[in-house]
Amino acid sequence: MKNKILIIFGLVVTLFCNYSCSREVDDVFDQSASDRTEQALTDYRKVLCESSNGWIVEYFANTTEAGCLFLMKFDTNGSVKIAGKNQWIGNKYTEAVSAFEMIADNGPVLSFNTYNEVLHIFSTPEDVPGTAGDQTGHGHEGDYEFVVMSADANGVILHGKKRKIEVIMRPLPADYEWEGYFKKVDEVQNQLFSDKLSYLYLSAGGEKYVVNGAIDHEISLYPFGGDAITQTSHAIFLLSERGIRFCTPYGGENDAFAVQNFKIAEDGSLVCTDEGQDARIYAEELPTLFTLKEMIWRLDASNMGGAIATAYQAASDACKTKYKYPIAYSQFSCTKDVYSLSFKVGSRTGLAYFKPEIVDGKVKFIFDGTSDANATKFISDVPALQTFIDCFNGLTFTLTSESAINPSTILLSNSNSANDNVSVIAQ
């Protein structure tokens, strides 16, 4: 047996020796590995330094925490200015200068090798303030060394060396002032998300999911009509001036799709830009949203039109005459399954009850004349309040909003007389 093994082994050795010298093979590359690595380091460094206004950097420290944005400007002298604005630096625009280097490690690696308070706060092993548990020794566990996967003037793709999370860099357009860029992102945040709206929808691949927590960029999703406990999955994203990007593609319950990048569409909703994906994130239909029992919609006295504006002003003036106080505010709400239009006058609030009906995508108000004691007294004392209520009673209103994802302000327009309208704001 031993002899057989040795014979077989001898044949293998002979085969290797003969085969390897049998013919010349053309070199695949013009340069040696070391030269090519050196060239890549030089080329990538040049790309980084040539973006005249720096780069927008989309960064996730880990796979459970919302991502964040940096702006980075690389200098040929080996310094990099990094700016950020996020909760970990007190939501204040902060910039700091440190060193960077392109090194040969796992391929070409971009290393931020001296401390930068904006970036390295995601890598420091100290406990993360304001979070549950003690993360000492771990911190956010974010990378500060990145393997360069590709780089040109249009963009750079990096992979965190330890955590392998993808980082995307885009050139910051020359017309952006740095702090102004973060202000723009804040505007987008306010444009897209409101803490007054408790959920959104994601439609993707023919499936529909309820999305909670979008305002914090750490969302939980479950199938529409499904179980919010047992069928919930989680995803994180970051927000930029052009939309949102999930840390990794989200595939729903059955991986029937894979969506990651969404841009802001004309109707204000978020539309997926990933190739071959038909997906959208948007809010509840307006009539349903308006009649959700947990919602409170305050009438915007400065955005009323036609007969509604006239009647409201008359009622408010009459209240002031009668009680020395005008109407402080008026709002639609629902308490214990009973809808009401309320009036706050002085220290008292009166409720005039109504039933909403959704008819052909519109909302019809039906006031049956019932009200609480305060409202009964108000109406008795100030008949103009009844005139204002009658601007809604029995009428059908069309609901519109400027944003399909954040309709926290809705315009109610009388379907028969569009000039009679009022804006309501979610509270």
Partner: protein
Amino acid sequence: MRLFKYITLFAVAIAFSSCSDDEIKGTIFPDIPTEPDPTSYTYKFDKWLKVNYLDVYNLDFKYKLQDISTNMNYNLVPADLNKAQDLAVLTKYLWFDVYKKVVDDEFLKKYGPRIIHLIGSPAYNPQSGTETIGLAEGGVKVSLFKVNALDNTDILMMNEYYFKTMHHEFAHILHQTKSYPKEFNTLSTGHYDSSNWQDRNIGVVNSLGFPTKYASSETREDFAEIIANYIVLTQSDWDLIFEYAARGWQVKDAESDTPEYFCWYYYKNNEASEENIQYPTDKEVETIIGEDGKKTYVLKGKTDTNGNAIKVFAAEDKDGVDGVAVLNQKITIAKNWFKEAWGANLEELRNEVQTRQTNINIEALREEINNIQ
């Protein structure tokens, strides 16, 4: 064994098969530049490091972190550039220049580390609840952590995290080159605790003859700690170790998972009973020296209902170890070893460090970097 043999032979076969005519053009890693780049953001510091460490001591003072140079199990961040500069000039002032003056020019050139690696954050060991504040690897490399916490006005902090660590790690380098007397290892036999040293009480370990808790982990750490603490601690801090060593220490609640220890106790209103026992701090205890020179202790500024001073008692020393004597034996061995093995005077080293510690002018030291051309 047989399997190993076959694998080895197979590797030889592969080696023979490589007949490429590719020219080997050196490592894939870039060469370390011989001169810092004058256009670099960090030029002045790099140049200063070259002139003061690389050229003189053949020492690479690494302040730019590469994770590959560290234990990847730790989550670490780089050192802040300004902190690294401060630590570099202070290290020269408080360590290299000391040996140069007290011993000679060549000592650290020959025995000093080849690499000092600065790391900004602590290296936490979450499972043991400890943090590593320094590492010496094979007498070649010393890693210093927590650099971003450097406060150049706080010598106690700087000693604890950097300079004591440097002297500690350098002591390891030296004793790995020339062994210290084996007698040292017998002085505290049976009192080391390699797994729970961090949970011990400082008074208890002093009383056992260890200068620090870490010294009580194992003999070689004990040796390095004796030297490092002797060099950097102020006289009053060094004396405190001996004061604690002379006391008895007893546990308040032996059944507690985190027992507390005491060295003083008294009875409320001088009424001796178990339920009246109290444990004062050092600051609350006043020492009274009688005409016969005998010491007694009372509670500072307090009397019982009869107007008598409240007597304070020292806890009985039950560990069976004369901590002061053991500490003295250890420091004597260390001093003799320094002299005999290295021709160096540990006492002079200590005096020089102590003098310099009280005369740090950080602005003047920084100017060395700012003035570099």
